[in-house]
Subunit: 376 residues, 2 copies
């Protein structure tokens, strides 16, 4: 099915761009001497993950146990579940381990560590657990110098579990947009994770893995001494938030939403398109950034950025396209009803989640449907 | 499956609340003497729509042709597609009509009207079309006094199509929160739609249907003279945006997301829960309203509002729960790891869309799984 016959709205992946993004990150991490475990929460899509593994990724990172189940069923068995484990999810994790999945769990509290150890002992399962380290105060984890770090490590080891390592995620990197700031946060992430590993080892505990990662820090880090692996997700498609952070150009954004102009309000300079928030997601991640792109940046059907046309507003199935600044009162003549456009999204993870499938556009213009899944 | 064994996150529908919401709207519209065509884009869920029809709805309104196809396949044939038709979607609409679906299309431009008439003539199909009226400048439609109104009507009639009526949606009602303002906008919506119908009739064109509706205006309208039917969607579940608009109490919100506490940052007064934006959606509709609820309002597992605890932040699979104002440094003791909570969402249409199914909780606590669909 060629591009110009696809129904709208559709989520397009520009496959050559995606392949370049995959190669860029893999080459970088190979040069830094660390293993790569891409975070598959961005796409939840097998062909994308196959391309990441083919390029050299050693395993994957997931945000839900459903992702672990789906990718394990497709033959991928090295999986890090990077969200704190709780008792209620242990039976699901146990079932994966019993079926042979090399699933690593995460904990950042004594309660979680003890629950994992108790469930493991009860069912004869030696769970591998990584301790989550808080390197920037943005969310979960124990600080590298926190006394609880060693307590949690001991509870796991003494409970008969495998203390596999530590993992950190410098999510605050998304709040910056200068390269020097990203370099600083990347070093803070590296240093915090390595320090935590050193403290565990000094206490006589094992800590083979030191895992860090976010797309901005993975692309900015100048050295990764002491780190053994990196996780990053959104780099595979990129988006306008990452563009504002400064780690990609708009020409590297591999995800867009194909849409059709369905009407106008000429005196306001509006074109109404059939990509509303259901197709774009409600993500307004660029709102607080240096350049606010509304609900997305408008491109021609072939992917050429049109300059200053944004999706300024969105209802469920209606998008309001307008020019930044002065309204374009010739918008109806410029983009007549039926015109097909692409919209670059703020946040690839959120936009992808609105679509049951991607339409993967190859270099020769051929289109293939790549299903993705959702839910828990 | 009882509530306390459901996995988290899950989207819960409180069925008694939903039934009361359905009865309230139906009783109101019966009293006002108009037919009701609920907008099913809110839930895309058969058991919900069956309950709306059983209460007296005469048909449904949809936002995508997929909704029309899915509900027609389930035996519902009176369907209004309330988004402007374009040429590219006409084959899909034609197929529905040829299979016996009483599908009504929408147009607000001469280009669209002519495209519909041309496709209808080519395939021997008399499409029924409603003209969209712009009553508040918030999105699509032609103004009631616009000369193009009659031109569009004539193009349809002379093209051999059925001019079925006019439809308006006062989406700007969402921007208000005082009853007198809602009454005023409801009257503006009614008067604008009726005026457009009168102009068509005065031009010798038929206009049997005068359709209006939004949840706030449907609940605020004091009279609906000249209106023949109403459309409204979110009333069936309600949400925090509607609470801020002033048309429901929090005790009437029938949708919530069940979640589990998975960690804490005590010194910040944070509890981390497993409902992030993937479970809540990125909708921040209460941000510009009098009460900003962050990503949602926290309730106990039984649905009791806990006061001032909000989901203040959200990553993909992590929510950050905190008290409004002064941080609760005893939050870990108050909500230990494993605590199950419900979060009331900002926007029921957006939150529902993140979930493959609802868990419908009956008055006796029994839970039934109600699938929903997504995509186009």
């Amino acid at each position: 099915m060629p591009l110009d016959t696809l129904p709208t709205p559709s989520a397009l992946i520009d496959v050559p761009r995606m392949m370049r993004n995959i190669e860029r990150m893999q080459r970088r991490l190979d040069a830094l001497g660390v293993a790569f475990h891409p975070h598959v929460k961005t796409t939840k899509c097998e062909p994308v993950v196959r391309a990441q593994l083919a390029a050299g990724a050693r395993g994957i990172t997931v945000s839900t146990l459903k992702e672990a189940e789906q990718f394990f069923a497709r033959g991928i068995d090295d999986i890090v579940y990077a969200v704190g484990m709780v008792a209620g999810k242990l039976p699901q994790a146990l079932a994966l381990r019993q079926r042979g999945c090399n699933l690593k769990l995460t904990a950042d509290s004594l309660v979680a560590a003890e629950a994992i150890a108790a469930h493991g002992c009860e069912h004869g399962m030696n769970f591998e657990v990584w301790i989550e380290i808080d390197v920037d105060g943005h969310r979960s984890g124990v600080a590298p110098e926190d006394a609880r770090l060693v307590t949690i490590g001991r509870a796991l080891a003494e409970g008969g579990m495998t203390l596999g390592g530590v993992l950190a995620h410098a999510g605050s990197s998304y709040d910056h947009h200068r390269h020097d700031e990203l370099v600083r946060i990347a070093e803070q992430e590296r240093a915090g994770a390595v320090r935590a590993a050193e403290r565990l080892r000094a206490a006589g505990l094992p800590c083979p893995v030191v895992s860090i990662g976010s797309t901005p820090t993975a692309l900015a880090a100048e050295r990764l001494d002491g780190v053994t692996e990196v996780r990053a997700g959104v780099y595979v498609l990129f988006d306008l938030v990452m563009h504002n952070v400064g780690v990609c150009t708009t020409d590297e954004i591999a995800l867009s939403v194909l849409t059709t102009v369905i009407g106008h309000q000429e005196e306001k300079g509006w074109a109404i398109v059939d990509a509303g928030w259901m197709a774009m997601s409600r993500d307004r991640g660029t709102q607080r950034q240096p350049h606010d792109f509304g609900y997305g940046l408008v491109c021609a059907e072939d992917g050429t950025v049109l300059g200053d046309y944004l999706l300024g507003g969105a209802n469920q199935e209606h998008g309001i396209m307008q020019r930044r600044g002065e309204p374009d009162r010739a918008i109806a003549a410029r983009f007549p009803i039926g015109t097909r456009l692409r919209i670059l999204p703020n946040h690839a993870c959120a936009t992808g989640a609105q679509h049951p499938e991607y339409q993967a556009v190859a270099a020769d213009g051929g289109v293939e449907t790549w299903p993705r899944f959702y839910g828990w």
